[in-house]
């Protein structure tokens, strides 16, 4: 293997990259924009759900529950009514997103230690808001019931049991904390895969790949010369995203940054391999973009747990998602960034990623080599 040859290719690749006035901003500005879009705009947080209140109980117990709702910050009581029948209108006229109904016997039931009921009505057409709102409602009710339970035991907290329900690692239930690390994964995938496939296909298009192949260059040198630049760009990308994440969004990296970068490298085996693979089935850069977008990127986004929680998927897809490398890297990134977890508990996703990365890259290299014929 000749390092001079690999270096020559690197110099060429970076020379091209830095001369390309459109590509460079794309590589470094696009990730930040994505981060901002996904981090802020597409945040799944729901705040200030407007509520019509129908308190038919009007006891201390009911008032205390209502207080819980208003203090949570997620709900704003816009209207109050005693007429249960009119609630429908509030929702139908889009005046409110939710109705909270406390039936007459609420206080008595609590006092009698029989299950007390509250009724929560959502505007189901806003599915997302409803689902998230419902989660908040549950959280509040559980907290409230726990408090009552604790009071029943004579005001003494239960020793050692923290009955307070909160979302671990993301205490404010902020979907942003969940999304931003995921954006890192997606950006790594997009830039390294697309840049690799397009750079290779471009050389096919302009005929230089053939010209390279009639020099004494070894296939392995050619492939390294083609992949190393994009590993470096991928890392630069990741660094930018992490900086924005930590300093822009105030999401600290709880775990080891070094481990994060090291495992990113393993993830890059997959993305570069996929890029190389795409280049072997595409004749033009446009084709490469399309193939990458529709046959790799989108399925990965849907199946990896990036867009939809894996638990909500049909079982077949849940099992299928094990074969999606991005799924494992998502787990790794979220675990390291949000939970500060070390390599130990991440052995399974790491091993899965490594096996998939090595096989995808190896298969692509073989295919690439064959295709040069």
């Amino acid at each position: 293997m000749s390092f001079q040859r690999i270096l020559a290719l690197l110099a060429k690749e970076f020379g091209q990259l830095f001369k390309d006035k459109k590509l460079l901003p794309l590589v470094f500005v696009a990730p930040v924009m994505q981060l901002v879009f996904l981090g802020y705009a597409a945040s799944f947080d729901v705040k200030n759900i407007s509520v019509v209140l129908c308190d038919q109980d009007k006891t201390e117990a009911s008032r205390s529950l209502i207080e819980k709702f208003t203090n949570s910050g997620y709900f704003t009581i816009e209207y109050a009514t005693d007429d249960y029948g009119s609630i429908q209108n509030y929702i139908d006229d889009n005046k409110v997103e939710m109705a909270l109904v406390i039936p007459p016997k609420f206080g008595d039931d609590l006092a009698a230690k029989t299950p007390a009921k509250v009724q929560v009505l959502f505007d189901g057409s806003e599915g997302n808001t409803a689902a998230i709102g419902l989660a908040y409602v549950n959280q509040i009710i559980v907290q409230y019931s726990t408090k009552i339970l604790v009071q029943d035991l004579g005001g003494r907290p239960l020793g050692g049991i923290n009955a307070e329900v909160r979302a671990w690692y993301n205490p404010d239930l902020k979907s942003r904390n969940f999304m931003v690390p995921a954006v890192l994964v997606m950006i790594l995938l997009i830039t390294t895969m697309n840049l690799t496939s397009m750079a290779v296909v471009k050389e096919k298009e302009i005929g230089t790949l053939e010209q390279l192949m009639v020099t004494p260059i070894r296939p392995v040198e050619l492939i390294l010369g083609k992949l190393i630049p994009f590993v470096m760009i991928g890392f630069a990308n990741a660094t930018v995203v992490l900086l924005v994440m930590v300093f822009g969004f105030g999401i600290p990296i709880k775990g080891s940054v070094l481990l994060l970068f090291f495992l990113s490298l393993i993830f890059l085996l997959t993305t570069l391999g996929l890029g190389l693979f795409v280049s072997t089935i595409s004749k033009t850069q446009q084709q490469a973009m399309m193939v990458g977008q529709f046959f790799i990127l989108q399925p990965m986004m849907y199946l990896s747990g990036f867009a939809f929680p894996i638990d909500n998927m049909p079982v077949v897809l849940q099992i299928g998602s094990i074969a999606v490398p991005m799924r494992h890297f998502l787990i790794i990134v979220r675990s390291i960034v949000l939970k500060g977890i070390g390599l130990g508990p991440l052995l399974f996703p790491t091993a899965a990623l490594l096996i998939m990365g090595v096989s995808i890259l190896a298969a692509s290299v073989v295919r690439f080599h064959k295709k040069l014929d």
């Binding site: 001079q4 060429k12 005929g207 070894r218 014929d373």
Partner: protein, 305 residues
Amino acid sequence: MISIRHISKQFPSVTALDDVSLEIGEKEFFGLLGPNGAGKTTLMNLLVGYLSPEKGSITIGDQEVTRENLDIRNTIGFVPQSLALYDELSARANLEMFGKLFNLPHKLLSERINERLNAVGLYERRNDNVKTFSGGMKRRLNIIASLLHDPGVLLCDEPTVGVDPQSRNAIFDFLESLNAQGKTIIYTTHYMEEAERLCSRIAIIDHGKIIASGTSDELIDMLPYEETIIVAKNDSTMEHKAVLREFGTVIENDDHLLLKPGTGFALSKFFTRVEQEGMKYRWFELHRPTLEELFLHLTGRRLRD
């Protein structure tokens, strides 16, 4: 020096080369003349080991050319039919990249780059992006890009396509000087004028087969006649077409008639007859047959449509 022995190359839909054998001597300027799709590029790709043949073998010097034999590429320069340059990079950067792939020491490479740039008149433009070059300049750059390792064998695949006449002449001169310095050159083209001007020996290739080879004169001698006669087109000559036909085949072109002498043709008899019929000598012009005519004679088709 270069031996091509019984080479066949099959693509899924066509047989690009069919049992091709050629011997090319050291320092020869060898032409490969053939129409589109004849198999010229395929043969060049086989010569450099970019493709491998189904049958047959190729040796250069004492080494066999294979896809795995990377070493032999240090002795071959390959100028591809379509330009292979990085447009965004300067001429110099392009040359440096290709030169380094041959593991040339930095200083030597630097010297060679300057020298070759000078030789093709591109030194002044060395730091400009290739994007800003004309077609002819790109061609010249592409040629020297394949010469940085100073190969003994140069394969040129139609290096004058899309080139203005001035650049074309500069390329011819440059290649001739390389040949004079002792480089073996294989040159493909479908312009018979180029082959005749440059090449000491020529092989005519069609549909993947070598249909004739030899020096330009040897090839012309394969025609059953030694000269053609171009006849001015006027009322008198058109009237006497039947007389002309007695001496061979008459082909009517837009602005002239072409007489291809038949067997037993003798100039003296011809002109005596012309005189008798009252036609004037100046309407007739003796013409050495071209390779184009040989191709037509051998295949019934023209080199270019």
